[in-house]
Point group: C2
Chain length 330, copies 2
């Protein structure tokens, strides 16, 4: 294992410290926790909290700030944060109008965020949560009952974050988040595995010309292993699976997120994005916005995920374009 770290069991601690020291104008560390909270509080607005295991940076700390999250809770690598840490995140986010939790669908996260919700309710903070389950690759998985929550989660952060900034109520935000989540479909592919620092060896193996379709963001199994194929064939395979869910029709207005898993050059991501545009254009759909880059990674995994949001409401596009100040959302 060759990594730029000091000690495997100090990685998250020192990353959190590095985030706080590097961006004091945007985030502050809640003392004695692994919670990063936005510096410019918004009294009277609903707070938004997300988080989960670390190793997916810039998710979620990179999305803390004006117009997105109020706080992010950083668990150990690929491990849910504990309820007391999430509770600290909720308290940091609370500005008197309640707090919405945006949780990726993994059993540990769902359980711990739920326990934190109960702890916060004992403090008289009103808390609601939405579970993001955008990964259509498999129905149940290693750490999940139902579909996994993956890169599409950042679109939920962005849309719900803009609505929160505009003053929406907790109930409105929960309903919005659930509607947006239902409109997001994601599927991923891995070209190489990744190594959790405390484990010290790759989580799985792939042959020199092999890829895994439907990979999870922790390396959970997908649905098939195939030989590496041209980008346009890969785009076609992933888009056909998404089409089975979205049933694309001419005139559909879409948002596309091509997400790098960590070690895939932007050059390849844009070649792939070009093929995605070609396929969607041939269907007569209209891509209203495209995001390309490392939005939710899996350490140094090579691969990409493809997310397509179907715009059920054109206001969602305005919310995606609403200017924010965060570490990672451009």
């Amino acid at each position: 294992m060759k990594k730029i770290i000091n000690a495997a069991d100090q990685v998250v601690e020192q990353m959190v410290e590095g985030l706080a020291k590097s961006h004091p104008d945007l985030v502050e560390r809640v003392p004695d926790t692994r919670v990063l909270a936005r510096v410019d509080k918004r009294p009277g607005k609903v707070g938004l909290v997300s988080g989960g295991g670390s190793g997916h940076e810039p998710a979620h700390a990179g999305y803390v700030g004006n117009g997105m999250l109020s706080a992010a809770v950083c668990g150990d690598v690929f491990t849910s944060p504990t309820p007391d840490q999430i509770h600290a995140g909720i308290k940091a986010a609370d500005q008197g109008k309640g707090v919405l939790l945006i949780v990726k669908n993994y059993t540990g996260d769902v359980m711990n965020f739920d326990m934190a919700k109960e702890l916060a309710e004992m403090d008289d903070i009103q808390v609601e949560q939405i579970i993001v389950n955008d990964d259509i690759a498999v129905e149940d998985s290693t750490f999940t009952t139902g579909r996994r929550g993956v890169a599409g989660t950042v679109l939920v952060h962005k849309i719900v974050g803009a609505a929160a900034e505009a003053g929406a109520s907790l109930e409105e935000l929960k309903a919005l988040g659930e509607k947006v989540t239902a409109s997001i479909k994601t599927i991923g592919v891995a070209l190489s595995p990744c190594t959790v620092p405390e484990v010290g060896h790759p989580g799985f193996e792939l042959g020199p010309d092999e890829i895994e379709l439907g990979i999870g963001i922790h390396g959970e199994p997908g649905f098939s292993r195939e030989k590496i194929m041209p980008s346009q064939d890969l785009a076609k395979q992933l888009l056909e699976r998404i089409d089975n869910e979205h049933h694309f029709a001419a005139g559909d207005k879409l948002v596309v997120l091509v997400n790098g898993m960590g070690a895939t050059p932007l050059m390849e991501q844009y070649v792939f994005a070009n093929d995605v545009h070609e396929w969607l254009g041939a269907k007569g759909t209209s891509v209203e916005k495209t995001l390309v880059g490392d939005y939710m990674t899996s350490l140094e995994m090579a691969g990409v995920s493809l997310t397509v949001l179907k715009l059920a409401d054109e206001k969602w596009l305005d919310m995606l374009n609403y200017p924010v100040r965060t570490i990672a959302w451009n």
Copy 2:
């Protein structure tokens, strides 16, 4: 070689197309070229053009837009763009007040940008250029006479871009760019090599526990190979080399860029950033701004580079913070 591409000789073409299709609100492709130009022209302002070999994305196309570059010219992977392509970039950037070329110091780039300058002058476009040579690792290198131009170049884009937007003249921008360049020192380290698509195999080899200090962004040799070491020791080694140039003193105001080379997780980059802050803090310096992320990559190379800009003028900080609309600068 396992890459998400269609054909090795089509990678740059399809990447450029992908960039243009993904961000039509920000950039447009100059027809029949590999030039990406900003959509919202600024008549009466000096144009800024950069570029070079591809494979360093988001540099330079990701920095085209309001407040940064007017156009970026994308050469083949790790190969200078030809004079006619650069000439097309200059024409796209020209808004009647001349064009400044920001060139990384590689022999091929310097020669081709210079020839393009002559071509443009025949069109009566006034052109000046600055050569960025921020890499202190070695004095001459595989493709370079003198020091190489690397990640610090993006700080030049940003500062000079803000001044151009504010209406500075061509002569003022050239002087500013040269002063900023002289204040930027960078040094890099590789943990793994990268593979140019048309070559098909890695450009060099590193043992399982080996790193190369002073690596270039095309994999050019550095100054020493060592065993992987803790992040804080690595930070110390690189900072001591930068200190030999900058001669840090208490009260110095600095800007730090921790740049991922392509395959290094943000988690590791922030652990390293934390160690950089510790070391600089112990020197009594003040880090006024920190950038962490993949700003100038080397395909899927693992490693980081560290750039320190000494703020000779506090206005530079305002220029770095001046809001922009580009693909990659946040």
